[in-house]
Every structure is written in structure tokens, then in C-alpha cells.
């Protein structure tokens, strides 16, 4: 018991025995996962394994029926809503790139800055030199400096993915949840995205990446968790996991 407690409090994210079912379908089944601060973790699994639902639980979109979800060892995420969780420092990139299409790239980043988000503060908000510099840095990182005044809706699919990662950076969260960042990207873009995520992780941020693309996961070179039917099937290096008989069975069909 005592050991469990230390495990929970020293982890940045701690899920234990989480259950969620939608109309009798068990999307998440006794899921347990622990992430150390500063860790990067790749989550793989076939369609319907519960990867996105897991992110929904962590970000407060879905409430679990059972189980513990702790952030920073003390904060019970199941009690909070999306806004509060975002304020705690959990940022999320969606599977389908979700940027504010009718606003410029720069405004997308400006909206993402982790400044006062209350109504009055936002109404009278003015960009400080420091914040302008931060936006500048993010624009450079995601290589969109030249198109900063373009509408986000006019970007290519890959660029939108990058913009959304940029929005995460502007948000400056402790934990980044990145859902399928390289879907629809060319090989070069995929490689660049892996580099970008590694760079973010070196910045002492904890990153969870959900991805199908095995080449990409291999390139990240981090611990891999394989989910299946809402529970952890295997955990370890990419070589261990892909050599696991059960993982092979799940991916290739029985």
C-alpha cells in the first residue's frame, strides 16, 4: 500500500484501475498507467483500443465510471472540468487537427498563451514584449513565421498539425497529450515532427504521443505502451513490444 502511494505521488500522471463504458461497451477496462515527470511515452494500439478515450479522461471530457486519475500526485482529475484541467497545465492536440480556421496563425498562438483567461483580463489584455517574443519563438519552431498573417484554414494538413503543436507550446503545459501528430504527413514531415517532439521533451516536458505510425514511434525511441480493448497489453521498448506475441496477435488478427 505504502509503495503504491509513493508511486502515485512521485508520478506526474497516474491512472489506476480506470473503467469507462458507453452504453455497455467497455471502452476502458481496468487501465493503469504511470508517467514520470519529464518522460515521453508512446501509446500504440489498434483502432478502438481506447487511446483517444484515455485522453478524453485525462483532459476531463469524459468522466470515468471507476478508478483513480491523479496529476502531479495530488490533483484528482476526475473532479475537474476541461477548463480547470487545462489551467493546471495539461495541453492536448487532437487527432483531427483542430485550429481556429477563420483566424490568423498568429492569433491562434496568441489565443493559446497561458495568460489570464478570465473575461475581464482578456477584454483588456495587451500583448507584452515578452509574450510577443514567445509567439515569435513558437512561430520559428513550427516554421510558420512567414505565413503568420495567413488564415489557419488555408494551411495544408501537415502545417495545421504543426500549428496545433505550436499552440501546445504557447500554452506551455507540464503535460502534452499529442494525438496522432503525423497522420497525413509526408515522410520528411514525419521525421521533422519526431525531432520537434524530442526537442519539446528535452525541455523537461512530459509528453504522451498516441500514434499508429510505427516508423515514427521507432524514431521517437521511447518507452511504448500498447493498449488493447481498453487495457494495457504490453509495455517496454519498441523492440520488446513488437516482439510480444500478444501484440502481434492483436495487430495481425487472431
Amino acid at each position: 500500500m505504502n509503495m503504491m502511494d509513493t508511486k502515485a505521488t512521485s508520478a506526474l500522471l497516474y491512472l489506476d484501475g480506470v473503467h469507462v463504458s458507453f452504453d455497455g461497451f467497455h471502452a476502458i477496462n481496468n487501465l493503469s498507467l504511470t508517467l514520470a515527470p519529464g518522460e515521453m511515452r508512446a501509446i500504440i494500439g489498434p483502432n478502438g483500443a481506447g487511446k483517444t478515450t484515455m485522453m478524453d479522461i485525462i483532459t476531463g471530457k469524459t468522466k470515468p465510471d471507476k478508478g483513480e486519475v491523479l496529476f502531479d500526485g495530488i490533483v484528482d482529475l476526475t473532479k475537474l472540468d476541461e477548463t480547470k484541467i487545462a489551467e493546471l497545465g495539461i495541453g492536448r492536440k487532437f487527432q483531427k487537427p483542430t485550429v481556429f480556421e477563420s483566424q490568423t496563425i498568429e492569433d491562434n498562438l496568441l489565443l493559446s498563451l497561458n495568460v489570464d483567461h478570465r473575461v475581464r483580463g482578456t477584454l483588456f489584455w495587451r500583448k507584452s514584449r515578452d509574450e510577443a517574443a514567445r509567439i515569435e519563438r513558437v512561430l520559428e519552431t513550427i516554421r510558420l513565421t512567414d505565413s503568420r498573417h495567413m488564415l489557419a484554414g488555408s494551411l495544408s494538413h501537415g502545417q495545421k498539425q504543426w500549428l496545433e503543436i505550436g499552440m501546445l507550446l504557447a500554452q506551455d503545459p507540464k503535460l502534452l497529450l499529442v494525438d496522432e501528430p503525423v497522420a497525413g504527413m509526408t515522410d520528411v514531415e514525419t521525421h521533422q515532427t519526431a525531432e520537434l517532439l524530442k526537442e519539446i521533451n528535452r525541455d523537461n516536458k512530459t509528453v504522451v504521443v498516441v500514434e499508429h505510425d510505427m516508423t515514427f514511434v521507432r524514431e521517437l525511441g521511447v518507452k511504448v505502451t500498447c493498449l488493447h480493448e481498453g487495457t494495457v497489453l504490453a509495455e517496454g521498448t519498441i523492440d520488446d513490444v513488437s516482439a510480444n506475441d500478444r501484440v502481434v496477435e492483436v495487430y495481425l488478427g487472431r
Partner: protein, 394 residues
């Protein structure tokens, strides 16, 4: 801070709009008062009152555009806030009649004497003072919008469901105000006004002043809306309109933003109603009719939502058409025409008049942008001239 907000909110089209409103607001009353009756350029009083009505509708349209065009809240019950503001003003005007009423009762308005009221209901207290009535013009719609919005937005009622309950809200108020024992004059409403702040409400001078004040209110309302939509809060509103849940995941409390802008919009609608009542001389429960609110939404759609100027323009254009068509042989067909107008605008001009106009000007801007891409020096020069898209709020 103030000059900063001003420079940010006043782009060229906003300046042109304000100039037109100011010109109309000054020249029309002057021509009415100073030029001899019958002169070619003299605006008759009835026409000025008619235009005054349009200006009030334009303020209502602005308030709808603020929530619908920028935040995606489609209220089909905004006429309720307009009517509440109107009733608050009407109650003041009723109390001003005093003993000049048909029954000569110094305290009770005529309809209360007629309905055998023995004393003034408590909610009529204070309405003999103008400042109190003026406060209520803002407070009554504001409080209703706050309660309604607090419940609806916190429960995340959105889209068509929200529109339906706003319809239900205005319909419920319609039924309530129709009742004689509700204390607001039943289906006759409030009328027979005599004077406002001591000035005869029928006199040309008062009418001209009311018209000028309506134009002033339109200008102030427009500036306020511009200040809101060009602030960072405006960007958040658009973000909520386009991707509500994404905005939540960025840490914005979406319901607070919606509530803020909904209450602001309701207060604006209340002011529009308060200016409307002395100019048309009556307020009755018919103003709560759901059809009125839907019509107001059509004005905004016709003018172009999310443009503010379009909303005001749409209100004036559609109402002018209404005046023309309902007074001629086509009168019985006006509602069909309004319906047809809505369908045609949705099919052919989905962005409304101003939105389509802006799109026409767009190729120019696109060309500029294409040039910038090829030549970085031009880009920085263009950015300095403010040629590019809205610049960062700095």
C-alpha cells in the same frame, strides 16, 4: 488604454460608418427643424420618426450580430430584451402623464383605474424618476439575460436547442404581458404618452432630439461592439463560435464568455427598445412576439453577420422595404416576401450584403499577399502600411 482601444477599433470602414451615422443624426433633425415646411429638403416629422424607428432596429440588429455573428449564439428571442427596455421606458412615460389621464388619477395610470387597481403595484415604484427608469432599461433585460444565460450556458445548451428555448422565453413573456392582472396594461400595453423629461413628446423639437439620440446610441453601441470584437476577447468569441470544445481545452471558461457577451447584448437591445417607445408612442405585448425576434435575425443575415455594419445596414434596408411594401398593393404578401428574401439570401448571399462586398474586395488583398510572398521587402513595407489582414493588437 483609451486611445489604444480607439485606434484598434476604428478601421476605415468603421470610420465611414460612424461618419454616415453622425451625418444622418445631425442633418436630418436640423433639416426638420430649420427648413420651412414644404421645402424640398425638409424632412417631415413623420418620416423622421420612421427613420428613428429604423435606427432603433439597427441597434437591436447590432446586439444580435454581436452574439450570433461573433459567438455563434443564435438567439431567436432577442425581441424580449428589446421589449423589456421598451416597457421600462413606457412605465416612466406613463407615470409622467399624471393627472392628465382620462380618469385624472394623479398616481394610477388609466388602465389601472379601469381595471380597479386600488394602489400602484410595488414594481411600478420609482418609475416616476427618469434615472430609475433609465437604469431599469439596462437592468431588466440584463438580469433576465444573466439568469437565462447562466442556466443555459452552464448546462452547455447550444445550437438549435438554445434557439428554441430563447423562442420559448419570449413567448412566455408575451403570454404573461398579455394578462391584465400582470400589471403592464394587458394587450393594450402602454400608450397615450404626454411628455418626456418635461418636453412634449409630440413636438418636433423632442422628436428631432430623440432621433439624434438614437443615432448617438447607435454610434456608441457600434463603438462598444467594435472595441469588444477587436480585443483579445473578440478573438476568444470567434474561437468559441468555430470550435467551442477546443477553446475549453485551452483553458477558457466558455460559459463565462458567452454569459458576458449575452448580457451585454441584452442591455444594448434594451436601450434600443427604450429609444423606440417614445418615437412610436406605444409599447404592447406584441413586441414580444417570436416573429419579431426572427425578423430581427433576418435583418442581420441579409446585411451580413459578423460584420456589425452589415447588421445595421440590414435592419434599415429590410425595414425600409417593409414600409414600402406593406403600404401598397403588395401589403398582403409582405410575409411571403420576407420568407423569400431569407431563402434567397441564404442561397445566393450566404455572407449577406457586407460579407459579399468584402469578398469582392478580397482579390485585391490576395494579390497583395501573393506579392508579399515573393518579395519579403514588400511584405514588411505592406505590413507597416497596415495593408495586410488585421494586425496583432499591439
Amino acid at each position: 488604454m483609451t486611445p489604444h482601444i480607439l485606434t484598434r477599433s476604428l478601421d476605415r470602414s468603421a470610420m465611414i460608418f460612424l461618419l454616415i451615422v453622425a451625418a444622418v443624426g445631425i442633418l436630418l433633425p436640423l433639416s426638420n427643424l430649420l427648413l420651412p415646411a414644404g421645402s424640398m429638403f425638409q424632412v417631415p416629422t413623420y418620416l423622421m420618426s420612421l427613420f428613428g424607428k429604423y435606427v432603433c432596429y439597427a441597434i437591436l440588429a447590432l446586439s444580435i450580430d454581436l452574439i450570433w455573428g461573433y459567438c455563434g449564439i443564435l438567439s431567436l428571442g432577442h425581441g424580449a430584451f428589446f421589449a423589456l427596455g421598451g416597457y421600462a421606458m413606457g412605465m416612466y412615460l406613463m407615470r409622467q402623464i399624471g393627472s392628465r389621464g382620462v380618469y385624472g388619477n394623479p398616481v394610477l395610470p388609466d388602465f389601472m383605474v379601469f381595471l380597479n387597481y386600488k394602489e400602484l403595484p410595488w414594481y411600478w415604484y420609482g418609475f416616476d424618476m427618469f434615472w430609475f427608469a433609465a437604469l431599469m432599461v439596462l437592468v431588466a433585460p440584463g438580469v433576465l439575460a444573466f439568469c437565462f444565460g447562466w442556466l443555459a450556458f452552464r448546462s452547455r445548451v447550444t445550437g438549435v436547442y438554445l434557439s428554441i428555448i430563447t423562442q420559448a422565453m419570449t413567448y412566455a413573456l408575451l403570454l404573461a404581458f398579455f394578462r391584465n392582472d400582470f400589471g403592464f396594461g394587458g394587450n393594450n400595453g402602454l400608450t397615450d404618452f404626454k411628455d418626456i423629461l418635461g418636453f412634449n413628446i409630440q413636438s418636433d423639437g423632442t422628436r428631432a432630439t430623440l432621433f439624434a439620440l438614437s443615432c448617438l446610441a447607435l454610434a456608441v453601441g457600434f463603438l462598444m461592439c467594435r472595441a469588444v470584437v477587436t480585443s483579445k476577447l473578440g478573438k476568444v468569441l470567434i474561437a468559441i463560435r468555430d470550435a467551442e470544445s477546443r477553446t475549453r481545452f485551452l483553458g477558457y471558461r466558455v460559459e463565462s464568455y458567452k454569459l458576458f457577451v449575452f448580457v451585454l447584448s441584452a442591455c444594448m437591445a434594451g436601450v434600443a427598445g427604450a429609444l423606440y417607445v417614445p418615437q412610436v408612442g406605444i409599447i404592447n405585448p406584441g413586441e414580444f412576439a417570436p416573429g419579431n425576434s426572427i425578423e430581427a435575425v433576418i435583418w442581420v443575415a441579409v446585411g451580413g453577420r459578423g460584420t456589425l455594419i452589415g447588421a445595421a445596414l440590414g435592419a434599415v434596408v429590410v425595414n425600409y422595404a417593409k414600409t414600402v411594401f406593406t403600404s401598397g398593393a403588395l401589403a398582403p404578401y409582405w410575409l411571403f416576401m420576407l420568407g423569400a428574401l431569407f431563402i434567397l439570401v441564404t442561397l445566393l448571399l450566404p455572407k449577406g450584403i457586407i460579407g459579399t462586398f468584402n469578398d469582392w474586395c478580397e482579390p485585391n488583398r490576395l494579390r497583395n499577399r501573393a506579392k508579399q510572398k515573393r518579395d519579403p521587402i514588400v511584405e514588411s513595407a505592406a505590413a507597416e502600411d497596415g495593408v495586410t489582414l488585421p494586425r496583432p493588437a499591439e
